[in-house]
Symmetry: C2
Subunit: 261 residues, 2 copies
């Protein structure tokens, strides 16, 4: 058991890269709570899902900000960063992991593509209470309210604990603090990407395809992450990686699958 | 509605790359069921999780095998391949998607890292009944039984249908057909990677880190995917990407979170 006098050890990662504004604001705030170690991708890794690097070795360098050591930059994915931090770079496992603050929301279907959530998922896999936090805009540069909320929530999580295998996915509306209506505990919403690929031709007439798309909301319930942020609530969703569809387990039992051998 | 005389349209993808043995065996078998289109990564993409490419365009080339057109090779992830196939390359959505046959199992915790499962997840996101199939060995080269099982299961899925948002994750033991004991409908098992990083130094004395690890089984129940394959059963797990931890939703309600604003 850790003695009460030992400072709280906080691991911070993200998917926007070690030099992103969001992680900078988060670190500044988390330092008020304890000892912060930053281990983050050396460059932007958005929409990498829960990737880990297995066929190449990982390289790490020290990254300075404002002339001082800020953290470790890993040539890898968010999940790589967390695994490497916990299993190799840190002398002891951290007490808590915070991933973010992401530039852009991670709600509904986007959760499965999110590198920000992936870092927190990997923390959870490794047994560390973990929080992913995102601000719902790619453009806003004021992360102060989101950072403050992350610190307060982290303190609460350290007090209450999280069940094995469960993390918190937080989304903060990108509006001035006084416009935030409150905190909502939410479930993952249902949305659909109406993807299209913009097909173009290079100078040699070979096609290349740019992904683009618009988001369609399939569930307008107020208790979903997607609708909560649209209504200017901070959204806190408990998510896990227990993927079994238990309802379908029973249905499959009636299919006569044993005859397929 | 499609007329009865129209052939079944099958989309095949994987994460081992368009030239892998496993996809070749799968395609040969699926051609007995209908019209096959292959859209797969141009090279190996294992453990890419559910990544999609957003900051770069995708390039596609035609790939030949044995002197004949075999399929489209995409410079992207498994999820990219499926999205591009459905939204751009194919004139109509396929009736079914099969991802595999993967070289190596995708059970328990590995499901969240799996590119093979990711391709099937993206098919499911796009509303297509989808199956991921893996053979539990990196070394065995006889994919015939797994391929036959994929064809029979695909025919059953086409008849019965799958619920919105649910896919089937299949793992086939890499043993001779006569040693397979039967088919088991399973839930996702619980395992843990005891990861370590092998730290080495390059000629300039900079460190680099190779991921390595051993798998620890945390749940020995016979109805899990992990134990089923170890007992020489074909494992069929229904999985979904509804990630909300509903039990934790209630607990969070007692935390007094509204005071955090």
């Amino acid at each position: 058991m850790k003695k009460k006098s030992t400072p709280i050890r906080i691991l911070v990662s993200n998917d926007d890269g070690v030099d992103a504004l969001g992680i900078y604001a988060l670190v500044r705030e988390m330092k008020k709570l304890g000892e912060v170690t930053v281990v983050a991708p050396h460059r932007q890794q958005s929409a990498v899902g829960h990737a880990i690097t297995m066929n190449y070795p990982l390289r790490v360098s020290k990254f300075n900000k404002d002339g001082k050591f800020f953290g470790y930059a890993v040539e890898g994915t968010p999940a790589d960063c967390v695994k490497l931090a916990v299993r190799s770079l840190l002398p002891d496992p951290p007490d808590i992991l915070i991933s973010g603050i992401n530039h852009g929301s991670n709600t509904a279907i986007n959760v499965i593509y999110s590198g920000t959530v992936s870092a927190a998922t990997e923390g959870t896999v490794l047994g560390i209470p973990s929080i992913a936090i995102s601000l719902t805009s790619y453009k806003v540069t004021d992360f102060r309210f989101a950072a403050k909320f992350a610190r307060k929530l982290a303190a609460l999580v350290l007090k209450k604990g999280l069940p094995t295998g469960t993390l918190l996915n937080v989304n903060v509306p990108a509006v001035p603090e006084e416009k935030i209506k409150g905190i909502k505990i939410t479930r993952q919403g249902k949305t659909n990407w109406n993807d299209t690929f913009d097909t173009r031709r290079d100078p040699n007439n070979n096609a290349y395809y740019w992904l683009t798309g618009t988001l369609e909301i399939l569930d307008h319930s107020e208790d979903t992450d997607q609708i909560a942020i649209m209504n200017n609530y901070v959204s806190v969703s408990p998510i896990h990686y227990e993927l079994t569809d238990y309802k379908m387990l029973d249905t499959l039992g009636t299919w006569g699958m044993e005859k397929l051998k």
